[in-house]
Amino acid sequence: MFFRRNSFQGIFAAVAVLALFVIGCGSDDPMAHQEEHFEPEGLVIIDSGNRFFRYYRGQIDASGGRADHLDAPLNEETPHWSIRFLDDHGDEIPPPDDPDFKFTWAIADNTVLEVVQDADDVGKFDFHLRGLKAGETTIELQVTHGDHVDFRTIPIPVHVGE
């Protein structure tokens, strides 16, 4: 056999190997919970109950007299707009109520347009648009989950009129 009984080297080696094994084990660290994404396939924008803008599966749906772009008045705010989302059947679903999900946006030209939220709407899916100068730009509407975007629209054209 490799080791003589009671030999110092044998004990040293056995202890060392055991130590290496224990160190090498690692632990079943508590895992971050496997989380669900919020994955709608579209949205509608509602103005006083009127669903005047619809975006679904990567395209703006201007059928039925709906708008193919958004209008923002110069130096004024639009009325209070709310967002409802669309699932993979095109049915409306409410925005997520978990505070980890936030409404965010990306404007191509911030000198033309800004988004305004009422104090109690911050992070929620309600907003106003305000035109800063006459012109055209685009806005991408997003649902941000933690630090990543779970949902985003294509850049939606916005016209700021005089």
């Binding site: 080297q9 190997v17 084990c25 971050a32 496997q34 994955e39 396939e41 630090d147 990543h148 985003r152």
Partner: protein, 733 residues
């Protein structure tokens, strides 16, 4: 075709010239007895002084000798003079492996050992698939893939500098297995372009690419080959005294550095090996600017202990690899803000070998490995985006049969594995258990002057996904695979300078967990990935023809291959997008595919100081179902290098010529060709107890803007710009 014909004509002309003079070629390699590294510039002479040569930077030499018994002497500054008797007779000659010992050892006690009588297969392997000694130091770079990028048939898949992984003959993922000391290195680098290989090659003694039937001793799925990194984590021999190395490495393109130390110590009858490295780099500089979020911070620790005896050894090692690195963002196909990754991998390895020398059984090797792997992907806010954790248990038993008659080597290999993958964060792959078992047989024999390698392997694999909230995973579909692989390769000595052969193989690769069960966004890769629970094992037939011409000063290898896949599994851009995140959807599917390729290697020693080397490789991948090119195929590449060895300084230059890649899959962009150049200088300083090696090199000398076709970030950033590298290593003994 004309090019191939011309090469063959040249090869046969050389062979015709060589066959006429009635002498024989002796080929061999010289190693340092302690470090087992090959040694360049060793003077080799016949005792009568009539014939002489020196080893090249790979420690290789070739001598022409007449038939009879000769005595060769080997000498290098810092080492003792040793001699070796060589018998030259018959058409077939062994390859000599000679070890020389540092000067302070008493010369009377030196016993020069011929390491083994190897085959022409080994000669071919050494010529085309091995990096060691000074050559390895010279080519060492940031990652294993970068270090091997100019080897024949090798390309790099990357997504920033850290997660680079080698691609061989256009095959990637786990078709190319990475081993450390013959045992698979388990990590997630094969599963996604953003996952790093958890291996630091700085202290590697040797990197080798194993191809042909021998791959089936390691895996059924390595159609591309097996990359084996030799480190001797567990010492197999008892060291006579303390020896080791201390090293440092730095490069300007990332303002990074690495420090490393390794030592082997005799502790009574035991042998102890310890190693540590630390690497820190910042963002990579390209010719058009900084590639943001590409720093790397890596620590490795390794401790190995063994009890070597005359009849074998038993030992264990602990190996930790801890790295943090960034994946760049802000481009199409990348996370807008980039992602930071943190990987902790710990490996416990127990190994034993015992030599019986019985009538049937020659020796036995047993290896038990436990791997713990924990991997986080952080978003820029610091929140955990994805988390992967697995425990992996592997066991291998190899029985080496006694060589009898014409049989050179027979190995029976049994293996088992248990893999338990858990996930957290915004991850979509279900937690899955994988069990596997394998039985392999490798046989090497000679029949009428034809050397044969043959092997076969059966692998059983079972996947057991657990319930998850995501769609495919919720189905909890178990899958079981029975994979059969076999290969045979004869090698014929056409003349004493020219050998030729072929390799025929049938291989089956079992799909990965991700290829079966994925369904969701992958944030770091910034793709929406869809698996396929109906995938069958990836079956391929491979045929390769090769020629090896060897004469003093010239070493030429030419090979052509044809791999035919029934079901080549690849995540392909479907051209569709996921409507929630507007991510491109990549779906795993099996398609009929064909890989055709050509490779060549020419080593030409013009005189005792000047060497030229040229490597070339080309692969053409076709999706036969849709009559389209396969995605991410490496373009035609030639790498030339020249080395001038002065007794006090070795200098050289490299040139890399890569053609543009116009053959692209749908939704894949072509890439322009490029040429980049590099230079280097190396100085070795030997004393009685140390050897200092300093290499200074400049990569991408002209600061050329070029893009790697296999880089996921090539659309926004080119490869690394001009970089000055300093590599220092001090061996003590």
């Amino acid at each position: 075709m004309k090019f191939t014909t011309s090469i063959l004509i040249v090869v046969f002309c050389f062979s015709a010239i060589s066959a006429s003079d009635g002498t024989r070629l002796i080929e061999g390699y010289v190693f340092d007895h302690k470090t087992q590294r090959t040694i360049g510039n060793v003077d080799i002479k016949l005792d009568d002084g009539a014939v002489g040569t020196t080893t090249d930077e790979r420690g290789r030499f070739v001598l022409r000798l007449s038939e009879g018994v000769h005595r060769l002497s080997f000498f290098r500054v810092g080492y003792g003079l040793v001699s070796r008797e060589v018998r030259v007779s018959g058409a077939k000659l062994p390859i000599l492996y000679v070890e020389i010992i540092a000067r302070e050892i008493v010369m009377d006690t030196i016993d020069v050992v011929a390491k083994s009588v190897e085959t022409r297969f080994e000669a071919l392997h050494e010529a085309t698939g091995v990096l060691s000694g000074d050559e390895l130091q010279k080519k060492y770079s940031l990652t294993l893939a970068e270090t091997m990028k100019n080897e024949i048939g090798v390309a790099i898949r990357s997504m920033g500098p850290a997660p680079a992984r080698p691609v061989i003959r256009g095959l990637s993922g786990d078709r190319v297995q990475i081993n450390i000391d013959g045992i698979e290195s388990h990590d997630l680098s094969a599963t996604s372009a953003d996952h790093a290989v958890t291996l630091e090659p700085f202290n590697a003694e040797r990197l080798e690419i194993i191809r042909g039937p021998r791959t089936l001793l390691h895996t059924a799925s390595a159609i591309g080959g097996v990359i084996n990194v030799v480190k001797q984590k567990i010492p197999e021999d008892h060291p006579q005294r303390v020896f080791g190395s201390v090293g440092a490495y730095g490069e300007t393109a990332n303002r990074g550095y690495l420090s490393a130390a390794g030592i082997t110590v005799p502790v009574g009858p035991l042998a102890l090996y310890a190693e540590t490295t630390y690497r820190n780099t910042r963002d990579v500089q390209t010719p058009i600017g900084r590639l943001a979020n590409t720093p790397i911070d890596t620590r490795t620790h390794l401790l190995g202990l063994s009890y070597p005896t005359d009849r074998g050894y038993i030992g264990a090692s602990f190996d930790q690899f801890d790295t943090q690195y960034g994946i760049p963002g802000g481009f199409i196909g990348g996370h807008p803000n980039g992602v930071d990754l943190d990987i902790d991998r710990r490996v416990f390895d127990g190994k034993a070998a015992f030599h019986f020398d019985r009538e049937v059984l020659s020796s036995v090797e047993v290896d038990l490995t436990r791997t713990f792997y924990h991997h986080f992907e952080y978003e820029s806010s610091g929140s955990i985006g994805s988390e992967f954790l697995f425990h992996d248990y592997r066991g291998d038993l190899k029985l080496f049969m006694n060589t009898q008659g014409q049989t050179r080597n027979t190995v029976l290999a049994l293996g088992f594995g248990h893999h338990n993958l858990k996930l957290g964060g915004f991850v979509f792959t279900p937690p899955t258990r994988e069990q596997c078992a394998s039985l392999g047989l490798y046989h090497e024999f000679i029949y009428r002057d034809i050397e044969f390698q043959a092997s076969a392997r059966y692998t059983y694999t079972d996947f057991d996904p657990r319930p998850s909230t995501r769609s495919i995973a919720a189905l909890g579909v178990d899958r079981t695979f029975h994979a059969w692989s076999a290969a045979i390769s004869p090698l014929v000595t056409i003349t004493d300078r020219l050998t030729g052969g072929f390799n025929f193989s049938r291989s089956q690769r079992v799909p990965r967990i991700e290829e079966l069960y994925n369904h969701g966004p992958h944030l770091a890769a910034y793709t929406f990935e869809v698996g396929n629970i109906d995938l069958e094992a990836e079956t391929s037939l491979g045929f390769e023809v090769f020629f090896h011409y060897l004469q003093p000063g010239i070493d030429f290898v030419l090979s052509g291959y044809w791999n035919e896949f029934d079901t080549y599994i690849a995540p392909r851009n479907t051209g569709e997008i996921n409507f929630a995140q507007l991510l491109p959807i990549y779906a795993s599917d099996g398609v009929a595919a064909r890989f055709l390729g050509l490779e060549m290697h020419l080593g030409w020693r013009l005189n005792t100081r000047l060497n030229l080397e040229l490597n070339g490789s080309y692969v053409r991948g076709e999706n036969r179902d849709e009559d389209l090119p396969l995605p991410e195929m490496p373009p035609l590449k030639f790498v030339g290098s020249t080395t001038y060895q002065h007794p006090y300084l070795t200098v050289g230059g490299t040139a890399e010529f890569v053609a543009g890649q116009e053959r692209v899959d749908i939704f894949e962009e072509p890439t322009d060709g490029y040429a980049v150049f590099g230079i280097y200088a190396q100085r070795d300083i030997n004393t009685d107890h140390t050897r200092h090696s300093i290499i200074i090199s400049v990569d991408n000398l002209l600061d050329t803007e070029y893009r790697n076709h296999l880089s996921r970030i090539r659309s926004v950033m080119p490869e690394t710009g001009r970089s000055i590298k300093v590599h220092y290593k001090m061996f003590f003994f």
